[in-house]
Symmetry: C2
Subunit: 365 residues, 2 copies
């Protein structure tokens, strides 16, 4: 825990550049020259190899500390074909649920000595191709990917052919044959529908979630499964497809309310679209939990503080974030292992945005 760097030891360092020179670049070779040893010995000593004598090891480590030696992992990686970098290719990071994911993944990986190299595709396949390509040039030990909408198997296969470990997180491309960590979205949304059914609802809409991504398809499947379990036929006019954003949720709710026979409740693709729907309800003079029932998905922090607090499905994002990191580490260690899927089962969190069905009247305006 020393906080000051001690001055160089009394013995003048032979063959070194001018004595008081700024530290600049200290390399293995520099240390080797100064200590009259070979770079091999320095390298081994710094990594506590048993092949080097105790005394030498201490001398070397002391000198390295004193000179401010910082290893060059790039050079080491060139030799060892291991960078300790894990590339993270996310489709988005401003969405709060992905922030939680990113934080969990970073934490788990840094614990394992890996460092995160970040790329964001912004839901654009072309940009994703570019980004993943750039990331690949750094030769990460593994890729953690949440594919952009509309990605196909080929868009990731390019990675696979490089022999790098690939783990999909949150979203997946079916049939890609990569490890996956995420939540059981079918069950999750079905849970929400079941809750609404139990409250007496029969006309239940679905807001947001589009078919271009696996989560969209699965959550829609959960919606259908929930209806089917209750013997309610699917009414396509109640299904509002769209990306899971506040603005989309709001538009969707407006369209639902404008129907001749509006639903009395809705499940949402994610909390974000639920928030948008809540805003539209407010604007229409309606209150969720009194005039209309709304169930979100994800349970991000904001869900708890809405007015009313949002009933939603908790999906354990940090947990599967860590799981994704673990899968990556396992596959790095053993590239031949069988494909593994880490799937968390979500849980319904009942708050105050749902109630027994109330026929929706047209806006008072």
């Amino acid at each position: 825990m020393d906080e000051t760097i001690p001055p160089p030891p009394g013995a003048a360092h032979p063959g070194a550049s001018p004595a008081g020179a700024p530290i600049g670049k200290v390399t293995l070779q520099g240390l080797a020259r100064e200590l009259g040893l070979s770079t091999a010995t320095i390298s081994l000593a710094l990594r506590d190899s048993p092949m080097v004598a105790e005394a030498t090891r201490l001398k070397v480590q002391e000198a390295a500390r004193a000179r401010g030696y910082v290893a060059n992992r790039g050079a080491a990686a060139l030799r060892t074909a291991r960078t300790n970098i894990v590339a993270l290719g996310l489709h988005d990071i401003v969405n709060p649920s992905f922030t939680e994911l990113l934080a969990a993944v970073e934490d788990a990986l840094s614990e394992a000595g890996k460092t995160v190299l970040l790329g964001v595709s912004q839901e654009d396949v072309a940009r994703q191709t570019r980004t993943l390509g750039t990331l690949a040039e750094y030769r990460p030990d593994a890729f953690l990917v949440s594919p952009a909408a509309h990605s196909r198997v080929e868009d990731l296969k390019a990675l696979a052919s490089t022999g790098i470990a690939v783990v999909q997180v949150t979203r997946e491309i079916e049939g890609s044959g990569f490890d996956f960590a995420g939540s059981d979205d079918v069950t999750g949304v079905a849970l929400g529908v079941a809750h609404l059914v139990a409250l007496g609802h029969r006309r239940i809409g679905m807001i947001g979630g589009f078919g271009a991504i696996s989560t969209g398809r699965k959550r829609f499947a959960g919606y259908k499964a929930g209806l089917a379990a209750a013997g309610i036929p699917l009414d396509p006019t109640l299904v509002m497809e769209g990306p899971g954003l506040r603005a989309e949720g709001r538009k969707a709710m407006a369209r639902l309310l404008a129907l001749d026979e509006p639903p009395t409740a809705a499940v949402c693709f994610n909390d974000l679209s639920a928030f948008g729907a809540l805003m539209e309800l407010q604007a229409a003079g309606l209150t969720a939990g009194r005039d209309f029932s709304l169930v979100g998905y994800d349970d991000i922090e904001e869900a708890r503080v809405w007015h009313p607090p949002l009933t939603t499905v908790h999906t354990f994002i940090p947990e599967y974030g860590r799981a994704a990191a673990t899968l990556a580490l396992k596959r790095i260690a053993d590239p031949g292992r069988p494909v593994e899927r880490a799937v968390m089962t979500p849980e319904l969190v009942v708050r105050a945005s749902t109630c027994a069905p109330v026929p929706v009247k047209r806006r008072p305006l």
Copy 2:
């Protein structure tokens, strides 16, 4: 925009490994052997050097594409001493305001061909030292840092001595002599205080923000400046120090309400602590904007949807995120340039959490 990789050209590639072999590792040397050229030519051709003939260039680029060549930036960096990596050392990423920052920085940097290497200190100086050390081993072209609380100049000076460009973002260590991008926090909070004063408040508290970080000190200074401008003496019992978290904001508000003579209003270190304070008000049966006035700081998305919508100070986070990226790029290009500070002036956003002063009665409970 081809989506299929064409088969190798008709002419059998001489001296290559078994024809149908999996692509595996294609290197400059491999391409050179296959094309009967030197690695120098390949390297130059791939980078569109004018030193290589048009025909050769096309032939090389075509072959590279066909073979699935992916450059090894690590190797290139070893030679050129330029990695195109920018290290991002943040004290936290789950805080929504930092997500916005991260997104903006990543976007701006990737536009400039840089890739982000991420490290999170979690507000812990020891961990920060470790993290920055690890990041440094990858020899980033620049560091973007939001220092952990309690960091001192020496904690960053270690970076400086490596000759790497360092830019501080959001937070700074005074006297460190590095570039900085952030918002003018003194003015920002003073704006909030002035708003409250204009509404008639004289007893104004401050919630959250601790002296261990520059933003804490500056926002407190803004609080003092605002009071001074109105000729209101500072009452230390109204100042609640603490990290800017929901839980802390809640505790702080509880303590304020428990005072013999509670304030009628408060400014907050950030929106997060304001949310906590709002929760405590609710719990106490009080409503912000009617019984109490509260001003947040940052204007994160959640501020708009609170009930009541939070009056707060908008700080232009994405803007200074981009500014930070630009500063880093400029310093990479010219390490000797004078220190620059990019400071945005915040703006007050009046919503519904403030009102004229109302004497706070003790809880009805």
